[in-house]
Amino acid sequence: MRSLFPNAWVVARREYGVRVKNRTFAILTIGLMLVGLGLAFAPLLFRVLGGDEPTRIGVVLQATDPPANAISFLDQSLNGTGGTTATGGGYALETITDAASARQQVTDGTLDGALAIGRNASGELSFDYFADASSTNRSVLAIQSAVSSLVVSDRLTARGVTDLQRVFAPASFALEPLHPDQQDRSPEELVSGYLLGIVLVVVTFMAIIMYGNWVAVGVAEEKSSRVMELLITAATPRQLLFGKVLGNGAAGLTQYLSIVVAAVVGLVAQGPLSQALLNEPAGTTDFAGLTAPVLITFGVFFVTGFILYCTLYAGLGAMASRQEDVQQIVMPMTVVGMVGYFASFAAAQSPDAAWAKLLSFIPFFSPYLMPLRVVNGSVGLPELALAVALMLVFIWLAIIVAARIYAAGVLLYGQRPGFRTVLAATFGSSARAR
């Protein structure tokens, strides 16, 4: 057996050059960079579009002797002691004397709700909230809980308690999350994480199907243009195959890194931007699931999955005599890729399901499912290591098998071999991978 290098390197360099100079490649890269940038801005976008303006509530004091501090009490229990916060959105309270006009303003949309405070016959405070909302609405629940405190405060005052500040001092409460890495995730961030997972899957699928086909078509093209005959005189099938996969893999990595750079730029720009748009202090934004473990996992599985698929695509491409036959011949690989793709959409809904876990270890599917699981849940390091190890073993096997198919296929001109011919050529006596 002759050594892989430097010829594999020479082939890889040519493949890389041809690939990155390709216009389709450039357009796709720019498109995906924009997607990456958009994704990085998702949380900010949610906040800008998601109406983080304070909920405006008109308070009508109808009671004959309302608690003197009713407004400030409600404000404090709704917004906390610190007033309007960066994440809360907050509530803006204003006093309105006329109940009818308050209701009219809610109807007009200038107010989000009208809260009428009165006293019933037994002397208890009573509340009437008029708003375009259901009883489970977040703001309704918050107001309900705030007025409950106000009622308690009113009752305590009636019983002569004076140090209300102490009574209502916040309790000492600490949250100990089961999955510490998932704490502090707002619903927006969870949605963004789900979207991120889907985007990673789509990117992987597109790259595998597209580059895989490119590699296969490239091999078939070399065969039909008869460059192949010169190539195999100059280099061994293994050198050619490995060079091809290496060159195309490097092109894929270039694309991936461009996307990552775009996403990182988006994340870095997010702080100053959110300051400008929302008047929030810089540095309070989260990275919306695009964390280092996610990036590394995605990178590793993107590259290894790419190499695994491309190796087999290249081997199959050598079986085609004409470019028109390539699609048919690579169909089995495309089907396997599609299965992983669709499985990962189902898995995005339930990333911790047993079947999703199982599939994420099967090398043809782990490029899709592992990054998804990492985004949406916690995957232990041993699990990742096992999946990567399986990937590497399969890549090694794929190179051996593909080199044999390649060696047998490159000089089989004329007929379009069936599956049986492929097998016979690959494992028969006439095949050899030098």
Binding site: V18, S225, V227, L230, L231, T233, A235
Partner: protein, 307 residues
């Protein structure tokens, strides 16, 4: 299917060797086996005492019959790529390419895309691709097909240049005149078998006869008298001359003497060996005939009396 069956021949280093055969005779298969890109079921290929599978790839330069280059790459890029596969440093490859483009009168092609070149010019580029790594043996499948006369001449000169550098050239062709002009030795392949091989002179001598071309001024007097001379047969009765064959033992000058004795005005008298074309047709044609008879006998069909 058996493309080659016990084909055996020897090529002397430093010579130009012609591999002749009809279409489908097994020339390309033979070359691929020599290059170790096809594996033979048996037999061996050795060069200077080493088996071909042990020889470094740079021993061989190959010009396949089906031409093919990366059509969307530029001439210099393509040639550097193939040179790099053989381990030729880029600077040397560049210099060599420029020298050869100059020699082929196309120095401005270096930055053109392959697809912009005509077939003949692509062929020149392909020839350069085959020799950039300075191979000891150059194997070319139909190198002259599709070339115009000017380019045929350029390529012939390149062949001689390579031979003068001590290279061995093996090529296949249908053009017997080119073989006569360039080759010192040949092998004729027919249906996978080598029917004859060796130095051109020896192959011709082995035919056991000489050829005489005779032209006389006396038109219309017929050629009958020639057949009266012992051992002489007319192989071609052309308008411009008559071609005769004489067994090697007899003296061809007897024909000249006979002509002069008849007061013929002799305008051309030429003694030579049979042409390769004749030899080719004789070997390949004769086998064709035998094959047909064999088939006919095998199928039980009535055979014609061979007399």
């Amino acid at each position: 299917m058996t493309a080659l069956d016990e084909a055996s021949f020897t090529v002397e280093p430093g010579r130009i060797f012609g591999l002749l055969g009809a279409n489908g005779a097994g020339k390309t298969t033979c070359m691929r086996i020599v290059l170790d890109i096809l594996e033979s079921d048996g037999g061996s290929v050795t060069w200077e005492g080493m088996r071909n599978s042990e020889l470094p790839r740079r021993t061989w330069g190959y010009l396949p019959e089906e031409r093919g280059l990366y059509t969307r790459m530029r001439v210099m890029e393509v040639l550097r790529f193939f040179a790099a596969l053989y381990g030729v440093p880029e600077a040397r490859a560049t210099a060599e390419v420029e020298e050869w483009l100059e020699r082929f009168h196309v120095p401005d092609y270096r930055d053109r895309k392959i697809e912009e070149l005509s077939k003949g010019n692509q062929q020149k580029i392909q020839f350069i691709a085959a020799i950039l790594h300075d191979p000891d043996v150059l194997i070319m499948d139909e190198p002259f097909s599709g070339l115009d006369p000017v380019n045929v001449q350029l390529l012939k000169e390149a062949f001689l240049e390579m031979r003068d550098r001590g290279k061995t050239l093996i090529f296949s062709t249908h053009q017997m005149e080119t073989v006569e002009e360039l080759c010192e030795a040949i092998a004729i392949l027919d249906r996978g078998k080598v029917v004859v091989s060796g130095a051109v002179r020896d192959v011709k001598r082995a035919m056991g006869r000489q050829v005489v071309r005779l032209a006389t001024d006396g038109d219309g007097r017929g050629t009958e008298w020639l057949t009266q001379i012992p051992g002489v047969t007319i192989t071609q009765d052309r308008e411009d001359y008559v071609e005769l064959t004489v067994p090697s033992g007899s003296d061809p000058e007897a024909i000249l003497r006979a002509a002069l004795a008849r007061d013929e005005r002799v305008t051309r008298f030429e003694i030579g060996d049979p042409s390769l074309e004749e030899i080719f047709i004789e070997y390949v044609g004769r086998r064709d005939l035998e094959e047909e008879r064999h088939l006919a006998a095998g199928s039980g069909a009535p055979t014609e009396d061979p007399s």
